[in-house]
Amino acid sequence: MKINIVKQEGKYMEMEFSGEGHTLLNLLQDSLLEDKNVEMAGYSKPHPLMDRSNLFIRLRRGERHLDTIKKAVANADGKLDEFLADFEKSLAETVS
């Protein structure tokens, strides 16, 4: 995973990812949109054959984009943890 901040002006930030696509960014976008302070979050792939994507974020207040992303990552991570715990529990019930 390679990351490059293309633009960071006030409430807006644009980031470039290499080696990541819909798998990570769709999850991240959704997680970002759950944040009340995020006015807009989206991503695009310039071309389906390129291994690159762009992420756009605009906040309502403040300029702490990276903290917002970190929060979104923690949120998505929590959901995955919860799913895995739940899945293993129901698996144990099924097998036994």
């Binding site: 080696g19 769709n26 999850l27 291994d51 690159r52 995955l80 099924t94 097998v95």
Partner: protein
């Protein structure tokens, strides 16, 4: 969030997830299809192939033979510290084949592949690979590696991985529906508090009686946005439940890489339009053994001075 296993056997798992959105479900599906690694034959060295199947066609067929995978004892070649072109015992497993047709025509099956490590063996012994006429023979050494479905479809651990929404429908005639569901089975639909929960829409509509009781439009109108039925069918390389668990692990790893990069303030990498994978030293294709003798075949190449 709530999950429930609908059915599980050695190659297919069907489970319900409640309280997640489509983005989560799709990320999970994409990870299972393209990122969870399994073992597949990648390099083959032929000693003899006098069959009518050309080397590269046979190699392609063998690449698609599913092999049982031991994820705990092998690592991806790009993550291995051996840096050898053909890998080391930590990142590759050998398989050999030595078969000759003597007096009769012989069909070569995947079961004729002899694994070096018994934990990396063909899932099915009954996949035909080639046919040999009397006197023909195939002899080769193959190396299996871990890989990901995004590089080549042969490394995808699932033959099918799909999800669909679950529908909730109000039933008019509960007694009749119940009677029909008793025959259809509770992995298709269940009645919960006077509401019919259609788990498997296609399975439900396969029954004519069910179809008459609940119209298709009602099911489509009653789709629940945050509950999904996943169907994961493994190729046999990994148990289906393991694929789901590995997918969650891989997604978590991606997120932690991103978090680590933000924390380390490593956010100004150079990104080119097309990054070639580093495993082949920037070359587009990996060339088997690598060192081909350019002068092979006795053709005399003009010397540097003469060309000028």
């Amino acid at each position: 969030m709530n999950t429930k296993i609908v059915s599980l056997n050695e190659d297919t798992i069907r489970f319900l997830v409640d309280g997640v959105n489509a983005a989560f479900a799709n990320s999970l599906r994409r990870t299972m299809v393209a990122e969870v690694p399994i073992m597949t034959v990648e390099d083959i060295f032929y000693f003899d192939n006098s069959s009518i199947v050309p080397d590269e066609v046979l190699a392609h067929r063998i690449g698609f033979v599913p092999l049982t995978t031991d994820l705990d004892n092998y690592v991806l070649p790009e993550e291995c510290d051996c840096e050898a072109e053909l890998g080391c015992p930590k990142c590759r497993a050998g398989l050999t084949m030595d078969i000759e047709a003597k007096d009769d025509t012989v069909t070569v099956y995947s079961g004729d592949l002899v694994p070096e490590d018994p934990s990396i063996a063909p899932v099915s012994k009954r996949i035909p690979l080639a046919k040999l006429a009397p006197g023909q023979a195939i002899k080769f050494e193959a190396y299996a590696q871990l890989g990901q479905g995004k590089v080549h479809a042969k490394w995808s651990p699932v033959s099918m991985c799909v999800y669909q929404n679950v529908a909730f429908v109000d039933v008019e005639d509960e007694a009749a529906t119940k009677e029909c569901l008793d025959a259809c089975g509770d992995d298709v639909a269940v009645i919960e508090g006077g509401v019919l929960k259609v788990i498997d829409i296609q399975g439900f509509e396969r029954c004519r009686r069910c179809r008459e009781l609940v119209r298709h439009e009602e099911i489509i109108g009653g789709l629940k946005k945050d509950e999904f039925l996943f169907t994961v069918e493994s190729t046999g390389g990994l148990p289906p439940e393991r694929i789901v668990k590995e997918a969650v692990k891989m997604l978590k790893q991606k997120l932690s890489t991103l978090k680590g990069k933000i924390e380390a303030d490593d956010l100004h990498d150079e990104i080119r339009d097309f990054d070639l994978p580093e495993i082949n030293e920037g070359k587009l294709y990996s060339v088997g053994s690598g060192d081909f003798d350019e002068d092979e075949g006795g053709n005399e190449e003009p010397q540097g001075d003469d060309v000028a």
